[in-house]
Symmetry: C2
Subunit: 280 residues, 2 copies
Protein backbone atom coordinates (compact mmCIF):
# COMPACT_ATOMS: atom_id res chain seq x y z
CA UNK A 1 0.00 0.00 0.00
CA UNK A 2 1.28 3.48 -0.84
CA UNK A 3 1.43 6.03 1.98
CA UNK A 4 0.01 9.51 1.38
CA UNK A 5 1.84 12.48 2.95
CA UNK A 6 0.13 15.88 3.26
CA UNK A 7 2.32 19.01 3.24
CA UNK A 8 2.17 22.75 2.54
CA UNK A 9 2.22 23.26 -1.23
CA UNK A 10 2.36 24.02 -4.06
CA UNK A 11 5.37 22.05 -5.30
CA UNK A 12 8.79 23.50 -4.46
CA UNK A 13 8.18 24.46 -0.80
CA UNK A 14 10.58 23.55 2.00
CA UNK A 15 7.74 21.50 3.52
CA UNK A 16 7.64 19.45 0.31
CA UNK A 17 11.43 18.98 0.51
CA UNK A 18 11.00 17.72 4.09
CA UNK A 19 8.15 15.40 3.02
CA UNK A 20 10.31 14.05 0.16
CA UNK A 21 13.24 13.49 2.52
CA UNK A 22 10.98 11.53 4.84
CA UNK A 23 9.47 9.58 1.91
CA UNK A 24 13.00 8.67 0.75
CA UNK A 25 13.89 7.47 4.22
CA UNK A 26 10.68 5.36 4.41
CA UNK A 27 11.50 3.87 1.02
CA UNK A 28 15.13 3.04 1.90
CA UNK A 29 14.59 1.82 5.46
CA UNK A 30 11.16 0.21 5.25
CA UNK A 31 10.61 -0.33 1.52
CA UNK A 32 7.42 1.74 1.66
CA UNK A 33 6.24 3.76 -1.33
CA UNK A 34 4.81 7.23 -0.72
CA UNK A 35 3.01 9.93 -2.66
CA UNK A 36 2.70 13.58 -1.67
CA UNK A 37 -0.52 15.63 -1.24
CA UNK A 38 0.03 19.42 -1.25
CA UNK A 39 -2.42 21.63 0.70
CA UNK A 40 -2.75 25.44 0.60
CA UNK A 41 -2.16 26.02 4.33
CA UNK A 42 -0.55 24.35 7.34
CA UNK A 43 -3.96 24.15 9.06
CA UNK A 44 -5.43 22.29 6.07
CA UNK A 45 -2.35 20.03 5.90
CA UNK A 46 -2.93 18.91 9.49
CA UNK A 47 -6.72 18.76 9.16
CA UNK A 48 -6.44 16.45 6.11
CA UNK A 49 -4.45 13.90 8.12
CA UNK A 50 -6.72 14.30 11.16
CA UNK A 51 -9.71 13.58 8.85
CA UNK A 52 -8.02 10.47 7.38
CA UNK A 53 -7.58 11.99 3.90
CA UNK A 54 -3.80 11.44 4.21
CA UNK A 55 -1.80 8.96 6.29
CA UNK A 56 0.89 11.39 7.41
CA UNK A 57 1.36 15.15 7.66
CA UNK A 58 4.76 16.88 7.50
CA UNK A 59 4.68 20.40 8.98
CA UNK A 60 7.29 22.99 10.08
CA UNK A 61 7.51 23.53 13.86
CA UNK A 62 10.26 26.08 14.37
CA UNK A 63 13.06 27.85 12.56
CA UNK A 64 16.41 28.80 14.04
CA UNK A 65 16.01 32.45 12.96
CA UNK A 66 12.30 33.13 13.18
CA UNK A 67 11.15 30.83 15.96
CA UNK A 68 7.95 28.86 16.30
CA UNK A 69 5.39 28.38 13.57
CA UNK A 70 2.28 29.51 15.47
CA UNK A 71 -0.14 27.99 12.95
CA UNK A 72 1.30 24.50 13.60
CA UNK A 73 1.16 24.81 17.41
CA UNK A 74 -2.33 26.35 17.50
CA UNK A 75 -3.78 23.77 15.07
CA UNK A 76 -2.23 20.80 16.93
CA UNK A 77 -3.67 22.03 20.24
CA UNK A 78 -7.11 22.46 18.63
CA UNK A 79 -7.18 19.09 16.79
CA UNK A 80 -5.92 17.03 19.74
CA UNK A 81 -5.83 13.75 17.75
CA UNK A 82 -2.51 13.77 15.85
CA UNK A 83 0.60 12.14 17.32
CA UNK A 84 4.21 12.90 16.38
CA UNK A 85 5.96 10.00 14.60
CA UNK A 86 9.29 11.64 13.82
CA UNK A 87 11.18 14.94 13.82
CA UNK A 88 13.36 16.09 10.90
CA UNK A 89 15.77 19.01 10.76
CA UNK A 90 16.35 20.54 7.33
CA UNK A 91 18.94 23.20 6.37
CA UNK A 92 17.25 26.22 4.78
CA UNK A 93 19.01 28.23 2.06
CA UNK A 94 17.00 31.03 0.46
CA UNK A 95 17.50 32.38 -3.07
CA UNK A 96 16.07 35.43 -4.88
CA UNK A 97 14.21 34.12 -7.94
CA UNK A 98 13.14 36.45 -10.74
CA UNK A 99 12.99 36.74 -14.51
CA UNK A 100 14.20 40.36 -14.13
CA UNK A 101 17.68 41.13 -15.47
CA UNK A 102 18.93 42.41 -12.12
CA UNK A 103 17.81 43.25 -8.58
CA UNK A 104 17.20 46.92 -9.46
CA UNK A 105 14.36 45.95 -11.85
CA UNK A 106 12.37 44.23 -9.08
CA UNK A 107 9.48 46.19 -7.54
CA UNK A 108 7.73 43.51 -5.46
CA UNK A 109 9.13 40.53 -3.56
CA UNK A 110 6.77 37.66 -2.70
CA UNK A 111 7.34 34.92 -0.13
CA UNK A 112 6.14 33.22 3.03
CA UNK A 113 6.35 35.62 6.02
CA UNK A 114 8.96 33.37 7.72
CA UNK A 115 11.20 33.51 4.62
CA UNK A 116 10.79 37.30 4.27
CA UNK A 117 11.71 37.67 7.96
CA UNK A 118 14.76 35.40 7.59
CA UNK A 119 16.09 37.66 4.78
CA UNK A 120 15.00 41.04 6.23
CA UNK A 121 18.54 42.39 6.67
CA UNK A 122 19.53 41.40 3.14
CA UNK A 123 16.34 42.98 1.71
CA UNK A 124 16.90 46.22 3.68
CA UNK A 125 20.47 46.39 2.33
CA UNK A 126 20.07 45.39 -1.33
CA UNK A 127 16.40 46.09 -2.12
CA UNK A 128 15.39 48.81 0.37
CA UNK A 129 12.45 50.18 -1.65
CA UNK A 130 10.71 46.97 -2.82
CA UNK A 131 7.23 46.11 -1.63
CA UNK A 132 7.27 42.86 0.37
CA UNK A 133 4.14 40.75 -0.05
CA UNK A 134 3.52 37.73 2.19
CA UNK A 135 2.10 34.56 0.64
CA UNK A 136 0.88 31.27 2.13
CA UNK A 137 4.06 29.52 0.97
CA UNK A 138 7.44 30.28 -0.60
CA UNK A 139 6.27 28.94 -3.98
CA UNK A 140 2.73 30.31 -4.25
CA UNK A 141 3.75 33.36 -6.29
CA UNK A 142 6.27 31.64 -8.59
CA UNK A 143 3.79 31.08 -11.41
CA UNK A 144 3.42 34.88 -11.83
CA UNK A 145 7.16 35.47 -12.12
CA UNK A 146 7.46 34.39 -15.76
CA UNK A 147 4.96 37.03 -16.92
CA UNK A 148 5.94 39.80 -14.52
CA UNK A 149 9.53 41.01 -14.96
CA UNK A 150 9.24 43.33 -11.93
CA UNK A 151 8.41 40.54 -9.48
CA UNK A 152 10.83 38.55 -7.35
CA UNK A 153 10.32 35.67 -4.94
CA UNK A 154 12.28 34.21 -2.05
CA UNK A 155 12.32 30.42 -2.37
CA UNK A 156 14.74 27.50 -2.52
CA UNK A 157 17.22 26.60 -5.25
CA UNK A 158 15.11 23.48 -5.76
CA UNK A 159 12.03 25.65 -6.49
CA UNK A 160 14.10 27.59 -9.08
CA UNK A 161 14.86 24.28 -10.86
CA UNK A 162 11.26 23.03 -10.73
CA UNK A 163 9.77 26.27 -12.08
CA UNK A 164 12.72 26.94 -14.40
CA UNK A 165 13.36 30.41 -12.93
CA UNK A 166 16.71 32.24 -12.77
CA UNK A 167 18.42 32.80 -9.41
CA UNK A 168 19.63 36.41 -9.01
CA UNK A 169 21.24 35.93 -5.59
CA UNK A 170 21.88 33.02 -3.23
CA UNK A 171 22.16 32.52 -0.28
CA UNK A 172 20.29 35.58 0.96
CA UNK A 173 19.35 34.54 4.53
CA UNK A 174 20.73 37.00 7.11
CA UNK A 175 22.47 34.23 9.07
CA UNK A 176 24.10 31.30 7.33
CA UNK A 177 23.09 28.89 10.10
CA UNK A 178 19.41 28.49 9.16
CA UNK A 179 17.54 25.31 10.02
CA UNK A 180 13.88 24.35 10.27
CA UNK A 181 12.55 21.54 12.43
CA UNK A 182 9.60 19.57 10.96
CA UNK A 183 7.27 17.05 12.59
CA UNK A 184 5.76 13.99 10.89
CA UNK A 185 2.31 13.35 12.39
CA UNK A 186 -0.45 10.77 12.04
CA UNK A 187 -3.48 9.35 13.85
CA UNK A 188 -1.35 6.35 14.95
CA UNK A 189 0.18 6.24 18.45
CA UNK A 190 3.70 7.68 18.45
CA UNK A 191 6.54 5.12 18.26
CA UNK A 192 8.53 6.34 21.31
CA UNK A 193 11.99 7.87 21.11
CA UNK A 194 14.45 10.38 22.49
CA UNK A 195 12.08 13.39 22.52
CA UNK A 196 8.58 14.02 23.90
CA UNK A 197 6.43 17.04 23.06
CA UNK A 198 3.48 18.25 25.11
CA UNK A 199 1.44 21.35 25.87
CA UNK A 200 -0.53 22.47 28.88
CA UNK A 201 -2.65 25.38 29.99
CA UNK A 202 -1.88 26.67 33.48
CA UNK A 203 -4.22 28.62 35.74
CA UNK A 204 -4.04 32.37 35.02
CA UNK A 205 -1.02 34.25 36.43
CA UNK A 206 2.26 32.49 36.71
CA UNK A 207 4.03 32.92 40.06
CA UNK A 208 4.30 29.19 40.68
CA UNK A 209 2.23 28.12 37.68
CA UNK A 210 5.28 27.66 35.49
CA UNK A 211 7.93 27.14 38.19
CA UNK A 212 6.34 23.90 39.46
CA UNK A 213 6.07 22.22 36.03
CA UNK A 214 9.69 23.11 35.27
CA UNK A 215 10.86 21.95 38.71
CA UNK A 216 9.24 18.54 38.31
CA UNK A 217 11.30 17.94 35.18
CA UNK A 218 14.49 19.44 36.68
CA UNK A 219 14.34 17.32 39.85
CA UNK A 220 14.24 14.17 37.66
CA UNK A 221 17.13 15.44 35.49
CA UNK A 222 14.85 15.58 32.47
CA UNK A 223 16.25 18.15 30.07
CA UNK A 224 13.90 20.66 28.44
CA UNK A 225 15.02 21.46 24.91
CA UNK A 226 12.32 24.05 24.23
CA UNK A 227 9.53 26.04 25.85
CA UNK A 228 7.11 28.23 23.93
CA UNK A 229 4.10 30.19 25.12
CA UNK A 230 0.96 30.76 23.05
CA UNK A 231 -2.11 32.76 24.06
CA UNK A 232 -5.18 30.73 25.13
CA UNK A 233 -7.23 33.15 22.97
CA UNK A 234 -9.58 33.61 25.95
CA UNK A 235 -8.04 36.64 27.59
CA UNK A 236 -4.85 38.73 27.35
CA UNK A 237 -2.32 37.27 29.79
CA UNK A 238 -3.55 33.62 29.70
CA UNK A 239 -1.15 31.20 28.04
CA UNK A 240 -0.59 27.65 26.84
CA UNK A 241 2.96 26.29 27.18
CA UNK A 242 4.45 23.99 24.55
CA UNK A 243 7.38 22.01 25.93
CA UNK A 244 9.84 19.54 24.36
CA UNK A 245 11.69 17.24 26.75
CA UNK A 246 14.67 15.01 25.98
CA UNK A 247 13.12 11.81 27.30
CA UNK A 248 10.74 9.01 26.29
CA UNK A 249 7.25 9.16 27.83
CA UNK A 250 7.13 5.35 28.05
CA UNK A 251 9.94 5.32 30.68
CA UNK A 252 8.54 5.11 34.23
CA UNK A 253 10.31 8.20 35.64
CA UNK A 254 9.08 10.27 32.69
CA UNK A 255 5.57 8.91 33.10
CA UNK A 256 5.72 9.88 36.78
CA UNK A 257 6.73 13.43 35.82
CA UNK A 258 3.82 13.68 33.37
CA UNK A 259 1.39 12.33 35.98
CA UNK A 260 2.60 15.02 38.38
CA UNK A 261 2.27 17.65 35.66
CA UNK A 262 -1.46 16.87 35.38
CA UNK A 263 -1.94 18.23 38.92
CA UNK A 264 -0.51 21.64 37.89
CA UNK A 265 -2.28 21.84 34.51
CA UNK A 266 -5.77 22.93 33.59
CA UNK A 267 -5.46 20.83 30.41
CA UNK A 268 -2.47 18.64 29.43
CA UNK A 269 -2.00 17.29 25.89
CA UNK A 270 0.84 14.90 25.04
CA UNK A 271 1.76 14.88 21.35
CA UNK A 272 3.97 11.79 21.60
CA UNK A 273 7.54 10.49 21.87
CA UNK A 274 9.68 10.23 18.76
CA UNK A 275 13.23 10.29 17.44
CA UNK A 276 14.99 12.94 15.34
CA UNK A 277 16.02 11.99 11.81
CA UNK A 278 19.17 13.82 10.67
CA UNK A 279 19.08 14.94 7.04
CA UNK A 280 22.20 15.97 5.13
CA UNK B 1 7.65 71.88 22.68
CA UNK B 2 5.61 69.38 20.68
CA UNK B 3 6.38 65.71 21.20
CA UNK B 4 6.80 63.48 18.13
CA UNK B 5 5.47 59.89 18.32
CA UNK B 6 6.58 57.27 15.78
CA UNK B 7 4.17 54.42 14.95
CA UNK B 8 3.41 51.85 12.25
CA UNK B 9 1.52 53.59 9.44
CA UNK B 10 -0.01 54.58 7.15
CA UNK B 11 -2.90 56.41 8.82
CA UNK B 12 -5.72 54.21 10.13
CA UNK B 13 -3.66 51.43 11.77
CA UNK B 14 -4.33 50.17 15.29
CA UNK B 15 -0.82 51.38 16.20
CA UNK B 16 -1.89 54.89 15.17
CA UNK B 17 -5.04 54.54 17.31
CA UNK B 18 -2.81 53.56 20.26
CA UNK B 19 -0.46 56.50 19.57
CA UNK B 20 -3.45 58.88 19.41
CA UNK B 21 -4.85 57.50 22.66
CA UNK B 22 -1.50 58.10 24.35
CA UNK B 23 -1.23 61.58 22.79
CA UNK B 24 -4.71 62.42 24.16
CA UNK B 25 -3.68 61.25 27.59
CA UNK B 26 -0.47 63.33 27.47
CA UNK B 27 -2.52 66.35 26.42
CA UNK B 28 -5.16 65.92 29.16
CA UNK B 29 -2.84 64.93 32.01
CA UNK B 30 0.28 66.91 31.23
CA UNK B 31 -0.86 69.59 28.78
CA UNK B 32 1.66 68.35 26.21
CA UNK B 33 1.01 68.65 22.48
CA UNK B 34 1.99 65.75 20.24
CA UNK B 35 2.25 64.99 16.55
CA UNK B 36 2.43 61.54 14.93
CA UNK B 37 5.11 60.18 12.58
CA UNK B 38 4.04 57.05 10.65
CA UNK B 39 6.73 54.55 9.56
CA UNK B 40 6.39 51.61 7.11
CA UNK B 41 7.49 48.90 9.59
CA UNK B 42 7.74 48.25 13.32
CA UNK B 43 11.54 47.98 13.03
CA UNK B 44 11.74 51.42 11.41
CA UNK B 45 9.31 52.84 14.02
CA UNK B 46 11.65 51.77 16.84
CA UNK B 47 14.84 52.69 14.95
CA UNK B 48 13.53 56.25 14.36
CA UNK B 49 13.13 56.79 18.10
CA UNK B 50 16.45 55.10 18.88
CA UNK B 51 18.10 57.50 16.36
CA UNK B 52 16.44 60.55 17.94
CA UNK B 53 14.20 61.29 14.92
CA UNK B 54 11.14 60.92 17.18
CA UNK B 55 10.74 61.42 20.94
CA UNK B 56 8.53 58.37 21.52
CA UNK B 57 7.66 55.11 19.73
CA UNK B 58 4.34 53.28 20.17
CA UNK B 59 4.55 49.61 19.10
CA UNK B 60 2.37 46.49 19.55
CA UNK B 61 3.85 43.85 21.88
CA UNK B 62 1.28 41.07 22.02
CA UNK B 63 -2.29 40.25 21.06
CA UNK B 64 -4.69 38.10 23.05
CA UNK B 65 -5.38 35.85 20.02
CA UNK B 66 -2.14 35.78 18.07
CA UNK B 67 0.49 36.21 20.76
CA UNK B 68 3.75 38.11 20.65
CA UNK B 69 4.80 40.47 17.91
CA UNK B 70 8.23 38.98 17.10
CA UNK B 71 9.41 42.05 15.18
CA UNK B 72 9.00 44.21 18.30
CA UNK B 73 10.83 41.80 20.63
CA UNK B 74 13.68 41.08 18.20
CA UNK B 75 14.22 44.78 17.39
CA UNK B 76 14.17 45.83 21.08
CA UNK B 77 16.78 43.17 21.92
CA UNK B 78 18.97 44.32 19.02
CA UNK B 79 18.70 48.09 19.69
CA UNK B 80 19.29 47.85 23.46
CA UNK B 81 18.79 51.60 24.06
CA UNK B 82 15.02 52.15 24.29
CA UNK B 83 13.23 52.10 27.65
CA UNK B 84 9.53 51.45 28.23
CA UNK B 85 7.64 54.51 29.49
CA UNK B 86 4.10 53.10 29.57
CA UNK B 87 1.94 50.15 28.51
CA UNK B 88 -1.48 50.57 26.87
CA UNK B 89 -4.10 47.90 26.18
CA UNK B 90 -6.43 48.57 23.26
CA UNK B 91 -9.56 46.59 22.27
CA UNK B 92 -9.29 45.34 18.67
CA UNK B 93 -12.39 45.02 16.49
CA UNK B 94 -11.82 44.03 12.87
CA UNK B 95 -14.09 44.89 9.93
CA UNK B 96 -14.15 43.73 6.29
CA UNK B 97 -13.73 46.84 4.13
CA UNK B 98 -14.44 46.75 0.41
CA UNK B 99 -16.09 48.72 -2.37
CA UNK B 100 -17.54 45.41 -3.66
CA UNK B 101 -21.33 44.99 -3.41
CA UNK B 102 -21.06 41.86 -1.32
CA UNK B 103 -18.58 39.31 0.07
CA UNK B 104 -19.02 36.98 -2.93
CA UNK B 105 -17.50 39.59 -5.28
CA UNK B 106 -14.22 39.71 -3.32
CA UNK B 107 -11.29 37.71 -4.76
CA UNK B 108 -8.40 38.95 -2.61
CA UNK B 109 -8.27 40.01 1.04
CA UNK B 110 -5.36 42.19 2.20
CA UNK B 111 -4.26 42.82 5.78
CA UNK B 112 -1.49 42.56 8.34
CA UNK B 113 -0.66 38.87 9.05
CA UNK B 114 -1.80 39.26 12.70
CA UNK B 115 -5.21 40.58 11.57
CA UNK B 116 -5.60 37.81 8.96
CA UNK B 117 -4.76 35.24 11.64
CA UNK B 118 -7.23 36.76 14.12
CA UNK B 119 -10.05 36.37 11.53
CA UNK B 120 -8.96 33.00 10.05
CA UNK B 121 -12.05 31.09 11.18
CA UNK B 122 -14.39 33.76 9.83
CA UNK B 123 -12.51 33.85 6.49
CA UNK B 124 -12.60 30.04 6.19
CA UNK B 125 -16.36 30.09 6.83
CA UNK B 126 -17.56 33.06 4.77
CA UNK B 127 -14.83 33.55 2.15
CA UNK B 128 -13.20 30.11 1.78
CA UNK B 129 -11.78 30.64 -1.73
CA UNK B 130 -10.31 34.15 -1.46
CA UNK B 131 -6.59 34.74 -1.76
CA UNK B 132 -5.20 36.19 1.48
CA UNK B 133 -2.33 38.62 0.99
CA UNK B 134 -0.29 39.85 3.95
CA UNK B 135 0.73 43.50 4.09
CA UNK B 136 3.01 45.48 6.44
CA UNK B 137 -0.04 47.04 8.14
CA UNK B 138 -3.84 46.78 8.18
CA UNK B 139 -4.16 49.99 6.17
CA UNK B 140 -1.40 49.63 3.57
CA UNK B 141 -3.73 48.19 0.89
CA UNK B 142 -6.71 50.49 1.50
CA UNK B 143 -5.74 52.96 -1.23
CA UNK B 144 -6.21 50.24 -3.87
CA UNK B 145 -9.73 49.32 -2.71
CA UNK B 146 -11.47 52.24 -4.37
CA UNK B 147 -10.24 51.20 -7.85
CA UNK B 148 -10.41 47.44 -7.38
CA UNK B 149 -13.92 46.13 -6.72
CA UNK B 150 -12.66 42.57 -6.17
CA UNK B 151 -10.36 43.54 -3.27
CA UNK B 152 -11.21 43.51 0.41
CA UNK B 153 -9.19 44.51 3.47
CA UNK B 154 -9.34 43.70 7.17
CA UNK B 155 -8.93 46.90 9.16
CA UNK B 156 -10.64 48.94 11.88
CA UNK B 157 -13.94 50.83 11.67
CA UNK B 158 -11.85 53.98 12.17
CA UNK B 159 -9.83 53.14 9.01
CA UNK B 160 -13.14 52.76 7.09
CA UNK B 161 -14.10 56.30 8.16
CA UNK B 162 -10.72 57.82 7.32
CA UNK B 163 -10.53 56.24 3.84
CA UNK B 164 -14.30 56.56 3.26
CA UNK B 165 -14.71 52.84 2.52
CA UNK B 166 -17.87 50.73 3.11
CA UNK B 167 -17.88 48.06 5.85
CA UNK B 168 -19.31 44.75 4.57
CA UNK B 169 -19.06 42.88 7.90
CA UNK B 170 -18.09 43.75 11.49
CA UNK B 171 -16.90 42.41 13.88
CA UNK B 172 -15.15 39.55 12.08
CA UNK B 173 -12.51 38.49 14.67
CA UNK B 174 -12.91 34.82 15.61
CA UNK B 175 -13.10 35.63 19.32
CA UNK B 176 -14.88 38.72 20.61
CA UNK B 177 -12.33 39.21 23.39
CA UNK B 178 -9.51 40.66 21.30
CA UNK B 179 -6.98 43.02 22.85
CA UNK B 180 -3.51 44.23 21.91
CA UNK B 181 -0.92 45.46 24.39
CA UNK B 182 1.28 48.34 23.18
CA UNK B 183 4.45 49.81 24.69
CA UNK B 184 5.48 53.47 24.59
CA UNK B 185 9.28 53.68 24.41
CA UNK B 186 11.92 56.40 24.39
CA UNK B 187 15.62 56.99 25.04
CA UNK B 188 14.74 58.42 28.52
CA UNK B 189 15.04 56.24 31.64
CA UNK B 190 11.75 54.50 32.41
CA UNK B 191 9.60 56.21 35.07
CA UNK B 192 9.07 53.14 37.31
CA UNK B 193 5.71 51.48 37.90
CA UNK B 194 3.80 48.27 38.50
CA UNK B 195 5.42 46.24 35.70
CA UNK B 196 9.01 45.50 34.65
CA UNK B 197 10.04 43.91 31.35
CA UNK B 198 13.35 42.23 30.68
CA UNK B 199 15.00 39.64 28.47
CA UNK B 200 17.94 37.33 28.95
CA UNK B 201 19.85 34.70 27.04
CA UNK B 202 20.59 31.53 28.98
CA UNK B 203 23.36 29.02 28.31
CA UNK B 204 22.27 26.39 25.74
CA UNK B 205 19.98 23.62 27.02
CA UNK B 206 17.51 24.34 29.73
CA UNK B 207 17.47 21.80 32.55
CA UNK B 208 18.11 24.37 35.25
CA UNK B 209 18.73 27.29 32.90
CA UNK B 210 15.11 28.42 33.06
CA UNK B 211 14.14 26.86 36.40
CA UNK B 212 16.61 28.98 38.41
CA UNK B 213 15.54 32.35 36.95
CA UNK B 214 11.87 31.48 37.58
CA UNK B 215 12.61 30.26 41.11
CA UNK B 216 14.38 33.47 42.05
CA UNK B 217 11.22 35.42 41.25
CA UNK B 218 8.89 32.85 42.86
CA UNK B 219 10.82 32.76 46.16
CA UNK B 220 10.37 36.56 46.45
CA UNK B 221 6.65 36.32 45.57
CA UNK B 222 7.23 38.31 42.41
CA UNK B 223 4.49 37.42 39.95
CA UNK B 224 5.40 36.71 36.32
CA UNK B 225 2.68 37.91 34.00
CA UNK B 226 4.33 36.67 30.80
CA UNK B 227 7.21 34.59 29.45
CA UNK B 228 8.08 34.35 25.78
CA UNK B 229 10.96 32.58 24.06
CA UNK B 230 12.67 33.81 20.89
CA UNK B 231 15.50 32.11 19.01
CA UNK B 232 18.98 33.61 19.48
CA UNK B 233 19.41 33.22 15.68
CA UNK B 234 22.75 31.53 16.36
CA UNK B 235 21.68 27.90 16.43
CA UNK B 236 18.45 25.87 16.52
CA UNK B 237 17.60 25.24 20.17
CA UNK B 238 19.20 28.40 21.64
CA UNK B 239 16.74 30.92 23.04
CA UNK B 240 16.25 34.36 24.54
CA UNK B 241 13.53 34.69 27.18
CA UNK B 242 11.36 37.80 27.44
CA UNK B 243 9.75 38.13 30.86
CA UNK B 244 7.27 40.61 32.35
CA UNK B 245 7.11 40.77 36.14
CA UNK B 246 4.50 42.54 38.27
CA UNK B 247 6.95 44.59 40.31
CA UNK B 248 9.01 47.79 40.15
CA UNK B 249 12.74 47.34 39.50
CA UNK B 250 13.54 50.28 41.80
CA UNK B 251 12.30 48.34 44.87
CA UNK B 252 15.21 46.70 46.76
CA UNK B 253 13.82 43.11 46.72
CA UNK B 254 13.22 43.35 42.96
CA UNK B 255 16.68 44.78 42.42
CA UNK B 256 18.09 41.86 44.42
CA UNK B 257 16.21 39.41 42.17
CA UNK B 258 17.60 41.08 39.05
CA UNK B 259 21.13 41.06 40.48
CA UNK B 260 20.76 37.32 41.10
CA UNK B 261 19.39 36.83 37.58
CA UNK B 262 22.64 38.24 36.14
CA UNK B 263 24.48 35.18 37.52
CA UNK B 264 22.23 32.81 35.50
CA UNK B 265 22.20 34.87 32.30
CA UNK B 266 24.62 35.10 29.45
CA UNK B 267 23.21 38.56 28.66
CA UNK B 268 20.48 40.40 30.63
CA UNK B 269 18.66 43.44 29.25
CA UNK B 270 16.15 45.39 31.37
CA UNK B 271 13.67 47.39 29.32
CA UNK B 272 12.31 49.36 32.29
CA UNK B 273 9.53 49.65 34.86
CA UNK B 274 6.26 51.33 33.89
CA UNK B 275 2.55 51.45 34.59
CA UNK B 276 -0.36 50.27 32.44
CA UNK B 277 -2.76 52.89 31.09
CA UNK B 278 -6.31 51.60 30.72
CA UNK B 279 -8.10 52.79 27.57
CA UNK B 280 -11.84 52.57 27.10
Amino acid sequence: MSISISHLGPTGTYAEAAALAYANWLSLEKGQKCFLCPYPSIAQTLQATADGQAHLAVVPVENSLEGSVSMTLDTLWRLDTLQIQQALVLPICHAMLSSADNLEAIRTVYSHPQALAQCQGWLDKFMPSVQQVSMNSTTEALKYLEEDGTAGAIASGRAAEIYNLPILACPINDFSSNYTRFWVLSLQPSPGGSHTSLAFSAPANLPGALVKPLQLFAKRNINLSRIESRPTKRSLGEYLFFIDIEADATQPFVKAALDELITYSETLKIFGSYSVLPIE
